[in-house]
Subunit: 252 residues, 2 copies
DNA sequence: GGCGCCATGATTGTTGACAAACAATCCGCC
DNA sequence: GGCGGATTGTTTGTCAACAATCATGGCGCC
């Protein structure tokens, strides 16, 4: 049975309509220290640890499978153990950290099979985003996509793989912005974070950049042409190519 | 069933000081049992609260927008406040609960626009799963899909909407199982949990069941015929129909 | 010499008390 | 009578100590 008491305002204290809400999110500057040994404490603490850890994991500074001991993290990031613990919880929810009850946490290692599955999900979601972008992008966004395409071409021509890698990220960011689809955007980003390692490894394969570029150019073309179906198809084809490459890599 | 209270959406109401707030007395209550002092503690505690809350939210027992006060939850589920707190964290990560720092948590209300976005994501992911199912389903799974199709037909013929609704869930569960794609399966389930309310509301619309059935039958046909592309297309078409219906509903 | 069993150490998980944040209220003041 | 600022009460967030859990290593026993 359902209880519906909605007739009364559920807010004891209104949370809605808070126009100035950033007062709390920024202005961090934590009491530089609270505990005698100079640990950052509190809410900032959790965020500091979470941000630092996420960065370290996604950049590969910490290797997959590496154990993450709460006490060590606490010391390393200068936060209390509780903050470190909460950060681990958050990252576990994001799929970056694996947690085993009573046994601790470690950096999640995604198998090749999982990486493929993740990419398959990204493939269809990226198709959705590209299609939406083709439908909704404004002139400025189209211009920036074209500009980025030019940069990608140059980077590939000059064999600047690292730079090209960054530009691909940029391309995706532009597509996400143009698509105006927060839900899909967040999903894609979360999935992408889980496989940076695989993706990076792949990008160094000879010949990979050229193929990738050709595929991405078709995505841009479709968006510029305002053709959602073509954009969807092109985006899928691109990631389909990436997936095939990863599968091949796995055999090596 | 779900009591609709859309008519009194709290977020649309002016922020008046409503001294009498009985909306917070929720009649939930499993209170599974108790230790000597009446509190379940610890790890089980967190799980109990999380499971109970998730159930209450997805079943609509607690209305969207409803405030979730840690102390109250702790009492209601017979767990410590900390367990309740962790449960809220977990549910917030799943997108079922909204948290605002220092201001508390409430059941997330998904706007129609968000619901549409979520369904668009489900659409493409469901297409992926259906295609995989067409590729990988074994004979037993195919048989069960066919059996379920028959049950759906009957339910619709006999105007058993509630039963039909359950059978749809069952259909999706069978597809997920056959697809052997844990990543996509989990994503889809998480997204689905966020919009049960919208979906349920929709399923009661006259004529909706018939159209839905026809679409789902085509999905089953494609899987049985081992035709991934057709399965993908059919699944997308199905959710595309649902999305169109939701958009219409929004105008009413 | 190998096997099971208890002590030990390192880590995670929990607890209750404490502190901060915020909305609502009260009070003096003009 | 209305306004600004301190005050209060409620709720969230943090902390350090405590308890539970698991792996490891030593020790007797077969």
């Amino acid at each position: 049975m359902i209880v519906d008491k909605q007739s009364a305002d559920p807010s004891l204290r209104p949370i809605v309509n808070d126009p100035v809400d950033d007062s709390r999110t920024v202005a961090v500057v934590p009491r530089t220290e609270a505990t005698s040994d100079g640990l950052l404490s509190g809410s900032p603490g959790r965020d500091v640890a979470e941000k630092g850890l996420r960065e370290a994991i996604t950049r590969g500074t910490i290797a997959p499978g590496h154990r993450l001991v709460e006490a060590e993290l606490s010391e390393q990031y200068g936060v209390t153990r509780n903050s470190a613990r909460l950060a681990l919880d958050a990252l576990a929810a994001e799929g970056l950290v694996e947690r085993i009850p009573n046994r601790g946490a470690r950096v999640r290692t995604v198998s090749t099979a999982e990486a493929v599955e993740i990419m398959e999900c990204r493939m269809v979601l990226d198709g959705l985003l590209s299609a939406k972008a083709a439908e909704l992008a404004d002139d400025d966004q189209v211009a920036r996509l074209l500009g980025n395409r030019e940069l990608m071409r140059r980077a590939v021509a000059e064999r600047e793989l690292l730079r090209y890698s960054e530009l691909i990220q940029n391309h995706h960011a532009l597509v996400r912005e143009a698509a105006r689809h927060p839900i899909a955007s967040e999903l894609v980003q979360r999935l992408a974070a889980q496989i940076v390692r695989h993706q990076f490894q792949l990008s160094l394969r000879p010949g990979r950049a050229e193929q990738s570029l050709a595929e991405l150019e078709r995505v841009v073309d479709a968006i510029v042409a305002r053709d959602p179906a073509a954009a969807d198809a092109a985006a899928r084809e691109h990631l389909g190519g990436v997936i095939a490459a990863v599968r091949e890599e796995a055999l090596v």
